[in-house]
């Protein structure tokens, strides 16, 4: 495992959650972060929701969603933003989950365009469908966290570079270390 598990409970609003994440990220190292709590809430505040979603997506450490109960807009967004999502036996998608703001962007980033199109536009999906396509798991968070080794954060940064930069620059980003013998 990459380090001691940090736990965050989402019981406040979007701004409070963003603040809690920033505080957690000040912890030295790259410990995995487990996020649970009230995942049935709606997304209310665009700026704060974008802030916490970006933090979850871009964190150079494992981000694990602990999904229990009804997954509303907040829960579905978290599920797609996190690196892995653990579905508890009582978890279920809320009515109207397809209208979650930001769903298209999150789905494309997480699963590619084909999967995003299926999620948004095709026949009704269930949480089991998300498990089948690899977006979620029925394993417990304590099991899932063992998947992450110390190199996960570095690979996640390379993945981000590959998503955000043109091919040649993304390649150079990940090859840089081969040229530098005196890294700072």
């Amino acid at each position: 495992m990459a380090g001691e598990l940090l736990r965050i409970v989402m019981d406040g609003d979007d701004a409070a959650f963003a603040a809690a994440l920033r505080k957690a990220f000040r912890t030295p190292g790259a410990s995995p972060v487990l996020i649970g709590g009230d995942l049935g809430a709606l997304l209310h505040d665009a700026s704060s929701a974008a802030a916490w979603l970006t933090l979850v997506v871009e964190a150079p450490r494992p981000m694990i969603a602990d999904c229990a109960g009804v997954l509303g807009q907040r829960g579905l967004a978290l599920l797609l933003a996190a690196d892995v999502a653990s579905l508890r036996p009582d978890s279920a998608l809320a009515e109207g989950w397809r209208d979650t703001p930001g769903l298209a962007a999150l789905a494309v980033r997480r699963g590619g365009r084909k999967l995003a199109r299926a999620l948004l536009l095709d026949a009704p999906a269930t949480l089991d469908d998300l498990v089948v396509v690899g977006l979620a798991s029925r394993e417990l968070p304590e099991v899932l966290v063992e998947r992450f080794d110390a190199g996960f954060g570095s690979r996640k940064r390379a993945l981000r570079a590959a998503l955000e930069l043109p091919f040649a620059e993304a390649l150079a980003f990940d090859l840089t270390g081969l040229d530098e013998d005196d890294a700072a």
């Binding site: 930069l165 620059e169 270390g177 040229d179």
Partner: protein, 264 residues
Amino acid sequence: MSDDILSRRAGAPVLSAVVDGVLTLTIERPEARNALNPEILSALSGAMAAAALDPSVRVIVLAGGADFSAGADIDVIAGHNPASYLASPTRRAFDAIRACEKPMIAAVSGYCLGGGCELALACDIIIAADTAVFGQPEINLGIIPGAGGTQLWRERTGSGLQALAAFEGGLIDAFAARRSGLVDAVVRAEYLGAHVRRRARAMAEKAPLATATIKAALRARGRMSLDAALAHEVALMAGLLATEDAKEGTRAFLEKRPPRYGGR
């Protein structure tokens, strides 16, 4: 590798070292995220003046630590009146950097905000770590970017992002900065220093007169019309043809060997 350390004393606001023709100036105030105070700005200004007179310095790297610089020291800004600001080290330091006749590379990681961002933008090349965050948040303090932050984004990013940066005071990450043209490359944070040093060394090995002439030609663009700058470029090129370096460069190419430039 030469190891000509000019100054690396503890407590200095800016660490200064010359290695292989590359002067690296490192802002050293990590406890304040490298916020720019008069000591730092005066040290930068002095180092730039010394570098201008030192032929062993071919390329200058401006760097920070975990953060490049979070901007001007708020206490210092609050203590200024209109007259004192105009005569402050802030103005002199930024003028000295923009007047620099040698290639400058900014090595940016972490916060690069306000005056820190203006420092980076005064350089010819900006290499960002993937941790870098850029912005001109001065509007949030009821002031404006006062050292180039309303002007210097434009050439790199266009007027839209320039206006958004100044009016909204928001932040953009390294990858967005790269896509917009604000920075020239993004590298892993842990390799930023080594990567920039390697590129700077490669630049320092090029023909010195040609390198200095390129800088002169680049600087002309913002100070002349395009027609005048193009004419200036032709004149600079013509002048270079009479140098030993130009002869050596072409001779080495034809003889399929590395050139040996003497800066003459």
